[in-house]
Symmetry: D3
Subunit: 128 residues, 6 copies
C-alpha cells in the first residue's frame, strides 16, 4: 500500500530529524526541507504528491512558514496545515490559514500525529 | 444596556445598507466603512471598541478585506471575523485568518447574525 | 440580490405553511412539496437551483424523508440537510446522512433558520 | 403545536423582561425566576417540562447560577445550559458544566436564541 | 482490565491483518470478518460486546459496509463507525451514517486509532 | 527539548503505573499523585509547571477528581482536563468542567494520548 506524503519544513536539524522519524514511524512518507524556498520548490515539483504540510515558522532567510502555507494552500485549498513553533503562536490568529493547527514548542510527537490524523480524516468527504 | 460594536466594511452601498439594517435590528451597533483604508482607520481610532468584523473582500482601491482582517487580528487576536463576498471564496483557504467564517453571496441575513453569534458565544471563555 | 433556495418537504399543510413563512421571512426562497416523490421530481427538475433541504420523515405513501435526502445528496454531496420530525429521531443514527441535523417536534423556527445558517456557512470553503 | 419550555433565571427585572420577551418572540415558552431557590423549586415541580436553562450567575441570596445549573443537570444530564453574566465569565472554566455556553454582558438577543438553537439541535440524537 | 472490542470488516486479507495488528497493538480487542453477512452475524451474536465498527465498503457478495453500519447502528445508535475504503468516499455523503468518519486509502494506521479514540471519547457522556 | 508536564491522579496503583508508562512513552513528563489532597499540593507547589490534568474520579478519602479539576482550573482556566473513571461518567454532565473529556473504563491508552493532544493543540491560540 502506498502512503501519505507529508512536506516537513524545519530549520533546526535536530528537531527535523526527530519529527521525521516520528512521522515515518507512524507510517507517513516524508519530504523534508530546511528553508522556505526549498519547501516551495519541493511542493511545486509535484503538488499532487504532497498531502499535508508540517512547518516551522522561522526558517532563516527567505519565506517564513506562514508564506509556505499560504503558497501551498493557494494551489491545494484542502491541504492539511500544521504550524510548529516556539515563538510564532502569537501571530497565528492574524497570519495563519483557516482550518490549520498551531502547535507550540515544547510539544510531544503525538500532537503532530494526532493533528495530522484529525485533518486527514476530515478531508475528502468531511467526517461528520 | 450598552451593545456590541461591529465594524462593517462593504463597498456596495446597497448591500452595506441592508446588512447594517439587519445588524442594528438584531441589536448590534455598527461602525461602517466603504474602503479598506477607512476601515483600518476606524479600527485604529479605538481598537477596544470594535468587538467583531464583517468585511467584503473586494473594496476597490487600497487594502482588501483579507488585509483589513489581518490588521485587526494582529491587534486583537480574538476578534470574530466574517468575510462576505461574491467571488473571494476560492482564496479563503490561503488568505483568510483562522477561526473565521466565509459567507458567499447570495446569502440571507441570518447567516451573518448566526455567524456572529457563534463566534461571540465562543469568545472570552470559549463555549464548550 | 438573488436568494438561497430551500426545498421544503412536509405533508402536514399547517406545519408546511408555518415553516415556509418563517423561511421566506428570513430571506430564503422556498420550493415546497408534500410528498417524497414530488420532492424528488422538484429537485431533479433543476438540481443546481436547490441549495438546501428541509424535510419531514413520514411523508405518507412513497419515498420517506430519509430517501429524499439520500437521493439529493447522491447528486449534490454538499447539500445541507435538515430533518424535522415528531417520531423519526430514533432512526436518525442509522438512516440519516452525515453532516445532517435532526430537529424533533415540537421545535421553534429559529432552530431551522439557525441550522440552515450553520450548514450554509460551513459549505463551499468550510468555516474554520 | 406545543412549544419548548425554557427556565429563565435573572435577578435584574429589566433584563429578565427583555430576555423573556425575545424568547417568547422566538417561539419559546418561558418559566421565569428571580432567585436560585425559586428556580430550583420551579424545576423540581416538573423536571420533564423544562427543556433548557438560561441563567444569570449572581442571583442575590441563595444558590448561584452555577448551582442551579448543576442541580438541573444532575436530574437531566442532557439539559441545554446557557449562562448569561456581566462578571462570572472568569469562573466559567472552573464552575461551569460541560457542553454549556457562557454569554457575557453586554450581549445581543440573537446570541441567546442562537445558543439555544445550537444546543437543542444537537440534543436527542446529536447533529453530526 | 478488560478492553474495548472493535468489529473489523475487510475483505482484503493483507489489509485486514495489518489493521487488526495495529488495533491490537493499541490495546483494542478485535472481532474480524471478511464478508458483510459474516460481520452482521458476529454483531448479532452479542451486540453489547461490540463497542465500535471499522468497515471497508466493498465486501464482495452480500451486504456492503454501508449496510453493515446501518444494521449495527439500528441496534446501537451510539456505535462509533469508521469507514475505510479506496473508492467509496464519493458515496459517503449519501450512504454513510451520521457522526461517522470516512478514511480513504491510502491511509496510515494512526488515522484509524485516532478516529476511534475521538469517537469513543465523545461517547457515553459526550466530551465537551 | 523540555517536555509537557501532566499531573496524573489515580488511586489504583496498577492503573497509575500503566497510564504513567504510556504517557512517558508518548513523550510527556508525569507528576503523579494517588490522593486528591496530594494532587492539589503537587499542583500548588508550582502551578505553571503543570500543563494538563488526567484524573480518576474516586480517590478514597479527601477531594474527588471533580474537586481537583475545579481547583486547578480556578488557577489556570485553560488547563486541559481529562477524567478517567469506571463509574463517575453519569455525574460528568453536572460535576465536570467545561471543555473537558470523560473517558470511561475500560479504555485504551490512545484515548488518553489522543484526548491530551486534542486539548493541547487547541490551547494557546486555538486550532481552527
Amino acid at each position: 500500500m502506498s502512503s501519505i506524503v507529508v512536506l516537513l519544513v524545519e530549520d533546526e536539524s535536530m528537531v527535523l530529524i526527530d519529527v521525521e522519524h516520528s512521522l515515518v514511524d507512524a507510517g507517513f512518507e516524508v519530504v523534508s526541507a530546511t528553508k522556505g524556498a526549498e519547501a516551495i520548490r519541493a511542493f511545486n515539483d509535484d503538488p499532487e504528491r504532497i498531502e499535508a504540510l508540517v512547518t516551522d515558522i522561522r526558517l532563516g532567510e527567505g519565506p517564513t512558514g506562514w508564506e509556505v502555507a499560504r503558497h501551498t494552500r493557494s494551489v491545494n485549498p484542502n491541504l492539511p496545515v500544521i504550524y510548529v513553533s516556539g515563538d510564532g503562536a502569537d501571530e497565528w490568529p492574524s497570519l495563519g490559514v483557516p482550518n490549520s493547527i498551531m502547535i507550540t514548542k515544547p510539544f510531544v510527537m503525538p500532537q503532530i500525529i494526532n493533528g495530522l490524523s484529525n485533518l486527514l480524516n476530515e478531508g475528502g468527504p468531511t467526517s461528520s
